[in-house]
Amino acid sequence: MIHQYKLNGYNIVLDVYSGAVHVVDEVAYDIIGMYENTPKDEIVTRILNKYPDRTDVTEKDVLDCIDDIEALKAQGKLFTKDTYEGMAFDFKRRSNDIKALCLHVAHTCNLNCQYCFASQGKYQGERAIMSYEVGKQAIDFLVEHSGSHVNLEVDFFGGEPLMNWDTVKRLVEYARSIEREKNKHFRFTLTTNGVLVDDEVIDFSNREMHNVVMSLDGRREVHDRFRKDYAGNGSYDKVVPKFQKFARARGDREYYIRGTYTHYNTDFTKDIFHMADLGFTKLSMEPVVCSPDDPCALTEEDLPVLFEQYEILAKDMLRREREGHPITFYHYMIDLKHGPCIYKRISGCGSGTEYMAVTPWGDLYPCHQFVGDEKYLMGNVWEGVKNTDLRDKFKLCNVYARRDCDDCWAKLYCSGGCPANAYHATGEITGTYEYGCKLFRKRMECAIMMEAAKSLGAENGQS
C-alpha cells in the first residue's frame, strides 16, 4: 500500500509497510499513482498527453521513471506487501509484563474545568487521595510484574497530583531506593495544572521527574474559558508565571506545555503561537475528548478549519527552525530513522496490558480514560489482574483487530488508535473513532512533510 499527497509544495509518496518516504516531482507522482493498475504503454500515453510542452518529459523519460519505480519495488521501498498481520495474531500469547502505571494520586482538583474528561478529577466518583501505602504497593506491583523490562514509567496524574505532593515525593523516594536492588530504572512524569507549583516543586521535579506536563490552553481568553477555579476565576494569570519559571528551570529536561482545543478555538495555532510567545518551546495541543452533545465538542464543519490549522503550524514550525528559534509539537515529533520497530507499531498503545491506571484506592483499570467505568475494572495492586479475560481482550486490541484500519495508510503510525476513544465513540475498544483518525492522518501528513523538508534541506516549497 502507498499513500500519495501534496503538501507545502512537496509531492510525497509513503510506502506504508516499509516506512519508506519518497519526495518526487509531479511526473513521477502521476506515474506512481497509475503504476499498479495501468499498462506501461498506457502510462506513457497519459503522461505525454498531460505534459505536452515539457521537453524533459519524453517517452524515454517516462520509461526511465518506471524503471526507477520498479527498482524501488525490488528494494522493498515501494508497493511493499503487508507481512505483519500474522505477528499480530500471536499477541494473545505475549507476556503479561507491565512497564508503566498511571498513578491517580488525587481524585480531586483545585480547578473546575468544564471540559475535563475526568469530571473535575473525580472520575464520576467521590473525591479521594491516594495513601502512601497504596502508592507503595502500586510500585511494588509494577516491579514484581515488569519481567525483564528495565525502564519503568510512573505518571503522577489526577485530578491534580500536587494536591497530594507529599505522597508523590515519598513514592519517588521509595522507588529510587529499590532501583539498584531490583535492576530497574524509573522514569517519572508529573502532570499538573500549575496552581500549586512553587520553588520546592520545581526543584524536586527537576531532580526526579523525567517529564513534566503543564496544562495551558493558550491565549488568556481561551485558557480562562474553561480552566477556572471553583469561584469561577480564570487560572491563566496564576499559572503562566509559574509555568514560565518551571520551564526555564527544566533546561534541557523534558517538559510539555499541553493544551486542549475545542469547538470554541478551532484557530488553535494562535494558542500554540501564544505559548511560543510566552517562551515555551515544547508544546502539545490535543483535541477535546467529550460527548458529541457538549457545546465544546468539535464538529464535522470544524474539520477543514482544523486541517488548515495543522498545515499552518507545520509551515510555521519549518520557518522557525530555519530562523534558528525552533519549537517542537508533540504530534509532529516523528523520527523516521530511529522511530519504533514494527512490533510497537502494530501492538496498540499497551493499555490494559503493559500500561494500567491505578485509582487512589488501588484498583487497576486499562488506562486513565477507563477509570470510573466498573466494566473495565481489572483488579487491584494487591491481588494483581483478576479479570484476565479483559486483559486478553486488550492484548488483542491491535491494529489488525480493527477491520476499519485495513485500508488506512496511517495505521502503522497510530497502531490502531486509542481504545478509550474508540469505546466512547462506538461502544467497542476495537472500534475506530473516525473523527480522531481524520485529525491523526492530517497530523501525520504534516509531520512527514516536515521531516522530508528538513531531510532535503531546502524548503523550496515553503510559503
Binding site: 519508506a20 519518497h22 521501498k77 506536563v213 499541553r258 520497530c341 481504545p419 491523526f440
Partner: protein
C-alpha cells in the same frame, strides 16, 4: 534517480527481525493522554535495525 528522492527511514520489515524489546516509552505516557500515536516514540534499542 531523476524524479524520485528517497528519504532515509528505518526499514520496518527489517525491524521485525530484532525489534520488540519493549524498552521504549509507553505510547500514552507522555503529553497526549487522550489520543494514541506510536510514531513519535523513539526506539531504545541501541542495536536497532
Amino acid at each position: 534517480m531523476k524524479r524520485i528522492v528517497t528519504i532515509e527511514t528505518r526499514d520496518l520489515a527489517k525491524s521485525a527481525v530484532n525489534g520488540g524489546c519493549g524498552e521504549c516509552q509507553t505510547s500514552c505516557q507522555s503529553a497526549c493522554k487522550t489520543s494514541c500515536g506510536v510514531a513519535n516514540q523513539l526506539c531504545e534499542n541501541r542495536e536497532e535495525k
